[in-house]
């Protein structure tokens, strides 16, 4: 039973094989040309990224390990204190930075602000996206439109207006005292930084999650509902899994954006403890200790790698699920 089948498949393949081989030799040159042209076209931005992102990060990491010469030479000349290694990498810079209590509290504030912002922004975006999708009303579209407003406003302006708004002499304090409450101001406080981070991060999150939720076909939701699922069950079992990838993209971008932010904590936050973005600039410019600032940057990179890992995982998942579909 199996032999004839095998025979036919072998003979089939041998018939098919010959033209394929001929074809391949014919297109080899064309393929090489196609690949070459593709690479030629993508090479300018790739070069920019290698030269102005790749190299500074590698030399920056080497700087924190005590390699103070070469491309780091000029910065070393300009700095007030530098730790140099004697041939083998040293972690003394990191020990020095971590020994500083101020740095540890800044690091804690940075992580806290990032985690809270990511969670709140994702949650609000989901609520807005679901409301707009399920109610299908003009009101839903209006709310989506409102949530995108910060996209139109430069971050410096947004941060400044938020600082004024939540002062004790701003709307926050004034409305509070008119209603008979004493509300302590959020400006110049970490809570104000979180509020401003949520404000600036919301538009991108709402756009992406809304488009993810909108992409779930009506038919799937109806099918789930008709099979007896409650609305919340339909949302949880149909919409949430189908919009996982945009959600992870949102969380990644928001997380990395907040980690590396300077403007919002600089404008809205207290002088100390502040986020590492501000502390790095102060260390770099005011204290003139680029090596210490670089060590803080490397700590931020390590945190970002954790977030980047989630992004790559989501991409792999997307590739897998599109292969199945």
């Amino acid at each position: 039973m199996t032999t004839p089948l095998n025979q036919t498949s072998i003979s089939d393949r041998s018939v098919l094989d010959r033209p394929t081989v001929v074809d391949r030799s014919g297109t080899a040159g064309r393929t090489a040309k196609r690949v070459g042209a593709g690479w030629l076209m993508v090479s300018p931005p790739v070069m920019v990224v290698i030269v102005f992102v790749g190299i500074p990060i590698v030399t920056g990491i080497l700087y924190t390990l005590g390699y103070t010469g070469g491309p780091n030479g000029i910065a070393t000349l300009l700095s007030t204190s530098v730790l140099q290694n004697n041939g083998s990498p040293t972690f003394d810079v990191f020990s020095k930075v971590f020994a500083d209590r101020l740095f540890r509290s800044d690091l804690w504030v940075t992580v806290l602000v990032t985690v809270v912002t990511v969670v709140v922004v994702t949650a609000i975006s989901w609520v807005i996206a679901l409301y707009a999708r399920l109610s299908g009303s003009r009101w839903g579209r209006f709310i989506t439109g409102i949530a995108i407003v910060p996209l139109f406003i430069p971050v410096v302006i947004g941060a400044y207006s938020i600082r004024n708004f939540y002062l004790s002499t701003g709307f926050w304090g004034s409305a509070g005292s008119l209603l008979g409450f004493h509300l302590s101001p959020l400006s110049y406080h970490t809570s104000g930084v979180i509020v401003a981070q949520i404000w600036t991060s919301l538009p991108f999150a709402v756009l992406l999650i809304s488009s993810g939720v909108a992409a779930v076909p009506d038919a799937l939701i109806h099918a789930a509902r008709d099979a007896g699922a409650s609305m919340s069950r339909a949302v949880w079992s149909v919409m949430v899994p189908m919009a996982t990838v945009p959600t992870v993209i949102v969380a990644t971008f928001t997380g990395v954006g907040v980690l590396g932010s300077f403007t919002v904590p600089f404008m809205v936050g207290p002088a100390s403890p502040t986020m590492l973005g501000v502390q790095m600039v102060t260390t770099y410019n005011t204290y003139q200790q680029p090596q210490d600032a670089q060590a803080m940057a490397v700590v931020l990179f390590a945190l970002a790698i954790l977030i980047g890992w989630a992004y790559v995982w989501a991409n792999a998942r997307q590739a897998r699920s599109s292969a199945v579909m």
Binding site: Y131, W139, V149, S174, S177, L259, G277, L303
Partner: protein, 307 residues
């Protein structure tokens, strides 16, 4: 109407299509509304209203507060409106020479960086969107490196390199910093736009005898233009509004409008700072209103999900 789970897929699809025809909008009430369901829908609507009011206050409140401040003569807390109004702050701010200077400087940097980004990124976007070549996905994800590192950490690393390259405090250094912020936008969004050009129209053009150049000019480009326009405007605004990198690399030689905000808010009276802030916001609002429809239509979201 309920569909038994044992039905085949095709039957479920047919049934749900007919249901969809009955109900153009997906709604909470499915069968006839019972009193409990009606109460729930009223409650939901009330909840929606409260949440929307809070959201509107949260998003728009600070901006309105800032805008009112630009017209305040005397405004003593606690009061939700100024006691006396004036337009004099506008005259005072427009009389400052720094305003015009920093505005032109911002414009020059932003236009240079966007033009550079166009030349560098659009061919790459076309290759990624329309061609399949080994390493394409690596490039696509690799360019994300510009956004994968926390911005200020990346900028301090670049500053150290810029000292060695003699780019610290130079205009070219500022342009490069602003260019870096546009790469992902200028590659991913146009790539998604190029990728979504209808293949059947390309085939039709080729069948009608159009060469590759003509096909590109008459079919590919017109269809990709909205996506490219969104990318260009977002890139320009990213440069125009870029403050933190420009501040680290450019100051004190080059003070653009957004970097001026950092010091201005503490050195000027609050109403003057409010006027300055409004002036700085006008270009963003005008340009984004131009492409608002496309951004809401999903060009931005599409660009970030290109495969």
């Amino acid at each position: 109407m309920t569909v038994a789970p044992s039905l085949s897929n095709g039957a479920v699809d047919a049934a749900s299509i007919s249901v969809a025809a009955d109900r153009p909008e997906l709604s909470f009430g499915k069968r006839g509304p019972s009193p409990a369901e009606r109460a729930r829908s009223v409650l939901l609507r009330l909840l929606g209203l409260t949440v929307s009011i809070v959201l509107v206050l949260f998003i728009v409140g600070p901006l309105v507060w800032l805008a009112i401040g630009a017209f305040a003569k005397t405004w003593n807390a606690p009061s939700l409106l100024p006691q006396a109004w004036t337009l004099s702050w506008w005259k005072i701010v427009f009389a400052q020479p720094e305003l015009g200077h920093s505005f032109w400087l911002s414009l020059r940097f932003a236009v240079s960086a966007t033009a550079l980004a166009t030349v560098i990124c659009l061919p790459a976007a076309y290759a990624i969107g329309r061609r399949r070549f080994p390493g394409r996905r690596v490039v696509l994800i690799g360019l994300f490196a510009t956004n994968a590192f926390p911005k200020m950490g990346l900028f301090t690393s670049i500053a150290t390199l810029f000292y060695s390259l003699n780019l610290m405090g130079t205009g070219l250094g500022v342009v490069i910093i602003q260019l870096l912020g546009t790469i992902v936008t200028m590659v991913w969004l146009p790539a998604a736009a190029f990728a979504s050009v209808s293949p059947s129209m390309l085939d039709a053009a080729r069948d009608a005898g159009a060469g590759p150049v003509r096909t590109f000019a008459r079919i590919t480009l017109p269809q990709a233009i909205p996506g490219i326009a969104v990318a260009l405007i977002l890139a320009f605004l990213a440069c125009f509004d870029e403050a933190q990198g420009t501040y680290l690399i450019g100051s004190p030689t080059y003070i653009t409008m957004p970097t001026q905000m950092y010091t201005l808010v503490d050195n000027y009276p609050a109403p003057a700072a409010a006027v300055f802030a409004i002036v700085l916001t006008i270009p963003s609002i005008l340009l984004l209103l131009l492409v608002r429809r496309h951004i809401l239509g999903g060009h931005l979201a599409e660009g970030f999900q290109i495969k």
